[in-house]
Symmetry: C2
Subunit: 378 residues, 2 copies
């Protein structure tokens, strides 16, 4: 296995693009990543596209039709919300294997006018909601929050503080779908979606794309003096567990992945300077503090109270604004949070910069099930 | 890059399974491959599922729910008709990289009551036909045949002989969807679909699944004395060419892939003992004789006349019955033709055995575009 580096990243502002299609959005992000890497499409030797709703529509090849048809291996992957990060991982393995020196990963999604929370999804594809049951996502993450309240005395206000923090972070991210601060009162009194998550505590739907160029050590040296290393690339699926409805696989899935990630990277939670984690709902963020080992079991509520995960705290979480503000175009998210970590490790995150960041984690879960964790180091 | 071996293969009879779903069909094939390898799901370290129409439905994970949830990395890939072989290739890279010693690839499709040739496809997913235009496939391959007739004097009868040969082969394949001999007269006088391809010269639709277990050299030695080596695993996309409608990318795509395959494997067409190629239409088979270098440009008509590609000839093509008889459940095909080559290299192909086969090729094209070529050796 060879070492793999991220040489370039690109991302379009998440939001609504009714006049574009999936290949166009993906091409926009790919071109930004190529430009960032200082490369041409002719340098790319393999391309993996992650798109969920139109996973069978040959979007990898349709993106190449726009950015350059060089005849390279191109494939399309899907893995629920972990679609983009799974594409990134296959591109990573392509370089790690020694087969390629330069690979491209794109994550892209167009959710269009799909209702908030995926309700009434009509994507032209069989939807994840269709498979899992409409409205199941808010219910799962609501119940997981309630269970945490029951076990550890966590309060609805503590969960609400996640939304306050992430919306506050988003103001400094020009690529975030929403960039509006909200105060605790507004979050708590917002329309209830699935207790304890109110409207501001649920990620919006939208369109978006992000891309990354992965390279070998030798190639990285030719193009930059500050390569970002992929210290680990982990993908897990649901292990067999005796589940009950109130505690779905989100916890075990992430715990297993985190254990593997720290082991592989040779780093622990204390070595991380920032974490981009899968806050599809505010409740999920607190659960993942514990699942990722950022704090002990039952301590997540206190962690948010103490501001430790706000920018300026000891381990900023979702400096980008998180899925709650930045948006969650499903297939794009996995690459977008790698984009965010890379941007901080380079010191290019502007007003939201986590100062002196040397190591960061990008975490995604897809129910159904898939969990990816990438740890990146400067 | 490490050497990679196929330790186990499994395939269900292609046909109609209205009472099963995609995960069940995939699980059936996976269990057969595990049994063939002498392994348990606990031995598998990574799993790639190829399914086209429900590419976003988390079928990899749903198959694991049936055969064993061990928490391994699982992902879903799609690449038009090359979906299954692309899944096989990602599983191959997983082992070649040194990351895993044992990986599983499944190709599976349920086309159900979709009309012949994909017309009126209603899969619950955005269909390839939907993307490419309904009825385009027969037109493309019909026109490509007509162009060959114009350039080289190939006759409609010569194309028809492909159907006669493949249907003849299929009689000896218990897993083939159709196992009926047809004579030249019946083929030529069959209902015209898109000149020169009549009904018998077009592959049927159906349901099916195939699976393969890929392993490292060390692991292969532990389990078998007769490992089958993957001598090359090639994937190409459409290079930019000045196309006209009569000569679509099928030719260039395959020619590029073949050039890379022979180079990588260190073998030439004359070293092959059998070829399973993508005869979605009879015209395609003759074109691919030339694209794969089995004969010179314009010589394919004579090649079929001389019976060189019939079992017993110097380079049997589609001993399985080919897509024309065996069926073409899109996502399954790529793994199914690897199954066929492996079966011959092991000397286990019964009545259709290509005697003494030491090297074989599995070729698939997906319009849209993707071409895979795997050369396997005993």
């Amino acid at each position: 296995m060879r070492e793999v580096y991220v040489l370039g990243v690109g991302m379009i502002k998440f939001g609504r693009y009714p006049d574009k299609d999936v290949p166009q959005l993906g091409a926009d992000a790919a071109v930004l990543a190529l430009k960032d890497a200082g490369m041409s499409i002719k340098d790319v030797e393999m391309f993996v596209c992650g798109n969920l709703f139109q996973a069978n529509a040959m979007n990898a090849q349709r993106i190449l039709q726009q950015i350059g048809q060089t005849g390279i291996p191109a494939l399309n992957v899907a893995n629920a919300c972990a679609t983009g990060s799974t594409a990134f991982r296959e591109a990573y393995i392509g370089v790690a294997s020694g087969m390629y020196d330069v690979t491209l990963a794109v994550g892209v999604e167009q959710m269009g006018k799909m209702g908030l929370l995926g309700g009434g999804a009509r994507s032209g594809g069989e939807s994840v909601e269709g498979v899992l049951g409409s409205g199941l996502m808010p219910a799962i993450f609501g119940q997981a929050g309630v269970e945490h309240m029951r076990k550890y005395g966590t309060t609805a206000e503590q969960f609400a503080k996640v939304a306050v923090k992430n919306h506050k972070h988003s103001v400094h991210n020009p690529l975030s779908q929403y960039r509006v601060e909200v105060d605790l009162n507004a979050v708590v009194k917002g329309r209830m979606v699935a207790y304890p998550n109110t409207l501001y505590m649920c990620c919006p739907t939208g369109d978006g794309a992000a891309a990354a160029i992965l390279v070998s050590a030798e190639k990285a040296k030719q193009f930059t003096t500050k390569p970002i290393k992929v210290a680990c690339s982990i993908l897990t699926s649901d292990p067999y567990t005796e589940r009950d409805l109130t505690m779905p696989d989100v916890n075990t899935l992430t715990k297993n992945a985190a254990k593997q990630a720290y082991e592989k990277a040779g780093l622990g939670p204390k070595d991380l300077d920032l974490v981009e984690l899968h806050d599809c709902f505010a409740t999920a963020e607190l659960l993942h503090y514990e699942n990722l080992g950022l704090c002990g079991e039952g301590e997540a509520g206190r962690m948010i109270d103490e501001g430790r995960t706000t920018i300026g705290g000891d381990i900023p979480v979702n400096a980008s604004g998180g899925l709650l503000s930045k948006g969650h175009p499903l297939g794009a998210t996995g690459v977008a949070n790698i984009y965010e970590v890379v941007t901080h490790l380079r010191g290019q995150a502007g007003g939201r910069q986590v100062e002196g960041a040397k190591a960061g984690m990008a975490h995604v879960i897809g129910l159904g099930s898939a969990c990816t964790i990438h740890i990146l180091t400067a």
